[in-house]
């Protein structure tokens, strides 16, 4: 069901993923006895929790991991869902908020760099669809890239949503009754909402200057095997 966007500008939104589907990004990174399992996927928080264990068992079986992973995976998902739910029901932000999303990720041999604006009040947004079109337009063949991009967007949106809840709570406590009008986003974490008046005011054009096009142009690189190996070794080192 679509809520008319205009009605959302006035009232603060209750916490949720600022996308069409309320899917939580879940990231797993578990290491047991020298075996490391890394994964990233989205989870619908309204699914029953019994699904988590089923999912963990299934994953372990499919990937032929040691059975010790089952509890670890289930626990990790469970705790991340619990964190998400702890914010539910709280006010997120009021008024328009458009944030820049930056992508900088590597999936197998593909390197993706991009940045764009995301309207947190647009609950028609669909990171998965966006990623699919991105891959199609940029002619990316690796099927893993699309989900990775969608996940990266969701992760950032999730982060911003949590920040908004926190800052909304703080501003409510600091100046009771005056929240909303003079609400300014907390600048920690780097995801600062863009200045709407500056970008969309009557004096500015929404068409970027030609010289800025390159800055906002998505970059997709295909790496060679050696480069990938080098990068992976580097990541491995920094992890340890």
């Amino acid at each position: 069901m679509k809520t008319p966007i205009s009605s959302l500008y006035r009232n603060p939104v209750k916490f949720r993923m600022p996308t069409a589907e309320n899917l939580v990004p879940i990231r797993l990174d578990i290491e047991i006895e020298g075996q490391r399992y890394k994964d990233a996927f989205t989870w619908n928080p309204s699914d029953p929790d019994s699904e988590v264990v089923v999912f963990a068992k299934r994953t372990v079986k499919d990937l032929k991991l040691p059975p010790a992973f089952v509890t670890q995976i289930a626990q990790s998902i469970q705790s991340q869902l619990a964190e998400f739910r702890s914010y539910e029901g709280q006010d997120m932000y009021a008024g328009e908020k458009i944030v820049p999303i930056k992508l900088d990720l590597r999936v197998n041999h593909t390197l993706v760099k991009d940045q764009f604006l995301w309207d947190l009040n647009n609950f028609e947004s669909d990171p998965e669809e966006f990623a699919r079109i991105f891959c199609k337009d940029m002619a990316i063949e690796d099927p893993e890239v699309g989900p990775a991009i969608a996940f990266a967007i969701r992760e950032q949106l999730y982060e911003i949503a949590i920040q908004s809840v926190v800052s909304a709570r703080e501003s409510r406590m600091s100046k009771k009754g005056r929240r909303g009008a003079e609400y300014t986003p907390v600048s920690k974490g780097g995801a600062v909402a863009v200045d709407l008046v500056k970008l969309f005011g009557p004096k500015s054009s929404v068409v970027r200057k030609r010289k800025e096009w390159d800055v906002y142009e998505p970059i997709v690189d295909l790496l060679s095997n050696e480069e990938v190996d080098a990068l992976e070794a580097k990541e491995e080192r920094s992890f340890r």
């Binding site: 008319p4 966007i5 205009s6 500008y9 006035r10 328009e96 458009i98 764009f116 604006l117 995301w118 309207d119 647009n122 028609e124 947004s125 669909d126 669809e129 966006f130 079109i133 991105f134 199609k136 337009d137 940029m138 709407l196 008046v197 970008l199 969309f200 005011g201 009557p202 054009s205 929404v206 068409v207 970027r208 030609r210 096009w213 906002y216 142009e217 998505p218």
Partner: protein, 529 residues
Amino acid sequence: MGDSDSELELYTIPSSSRWFAWEEIHETERAAFREFFDGSSVSRTPKIYKEYRDFIINKYREEPSRRLTFTEVRKSLVGDVTFLRKAFLFLQNWGLINHAAPSASDPDRDGEDDDCRVRVEDGAPGGIRVAATPNSLKPMAAARAASKSGGSAAGGSLKLPPLASYSDVYGDLIRQKEVTCGLCGDNILLHYSTTLMVVFIIIRMATDINLRGGNYGEKRSAEDFVLSESSENSGKHDTVWTEGETLLLLESVLKHGDDWELVAQSVQTKTKLDCISKLIELPFGELMLGSAHRNTNSNSANGIMNNAKQVQSSSSDGQENSKTNDQSPDLPKENEQNGDVVKESPSKRQRVASLSDSSSSLMNQVGLISNVVDPHITAAAADAAVSALCDENLCPRDIFDVEEDEGLETERSSLSEMDHRCPKDDIPLTLRVRAATATALGAAAARAKLLADQEYREIEHLVATIIEAQIEKLQHKVKHFDDLELLMEKEHAEMESLKDSISTERIDVLRRTFRSEITRWKDYSYVKS
């Protein structure tokens, strides 16, 4: 002005998207992007939407054969990517972008945009329409021509305007007036043969030339187009008049006179324009005015031909008149059209106000047209008209001669004066009307001719000036080149002497070196390496 005079750019879009106009935002768009038009948001305003839309379309049109992708567009636009994608898909679904580009060859795509998009496999798609370029003043001319051709043959593929040669030859002149003259132009082209076109073009050229002198800043918008198209359609399809309607029309004309609004109201089933054109088409010399001097229903093409002759001859010297002139009922129509043409010319400002009302009467227009030209031209035209009428009607010329002097005055004056005069004179009203219209025609044609001549002389003069200037420029250039050559020669000579002196010096140095001590070279062996 220079820019808008440049070549028309034609783009094809599916006929389903004919609502699109650069200047405005259509209901379809409003419905699709409601949040942009309720004024609740800073980042969603109609202006921003329009900027997005125009940019995306322009971007596509930079290279219409290539498929524009969303990722390509969004780097240039500030805004929520989700919305940008929505707008992009909207434009794509309507065929405003990417419709001429090869469609995405992605078999596993769900057919979300394949449903509405017009696929272009070979040749142009069906139901094609030509859209305007932005900021162009007269793009609708081509569109109208195209849509007109669509009417004549079942639309299957892209059609050129049927009168290609016509628009080529007079393209420059007519382009400006194509839209505003649409009504009368179409009527003529649709209903009559090319003979009439000659007359029409002569007069139109004149008004065009006139226009160039004056300022014509009037804005031609989509409404103009719509209007002329609809009236054209009505001219084609809705002019089937039943007996009852015709009678009703005549009755109401008798009752309400020139008040066409009222006439149209009482006829009910027809529009104002329909009523006017119908009445003009009617042989109302008989029905309305009861003249007995005329053949029953003269062939319109014939009549037009004669009219054309008359116009041309009276425009040439204003005295010669046509002997074969049988006054057909189309003459008033012709005059009406002239009136329209004149009406379209904003440079004649004093008449725009009075003529802007399309329901103003025939006689009014006669008077006004006659007012435009010099008195002696009007006199000549009136004379020609009168003698033609006399020839045709076999009535003594002295009917007119009696009031010749005063008649000329009145014919140039307004309708009220005409009415004033009516009771005391005994000339049949039919003759009077015909004489007046003929006079007006002749006068207008004469004026057109004058203006055309004047403009032609002007152009000749200007061209001569330009050529002179060019020749002068060339001469200057030649002179400069001569100077340059001289300089080069001098320099060359200098260089030669310098070369000589350097070589002699070098020889001298070498000689001295050798002479002084040859073994010395060995000491400086590193110099050589």
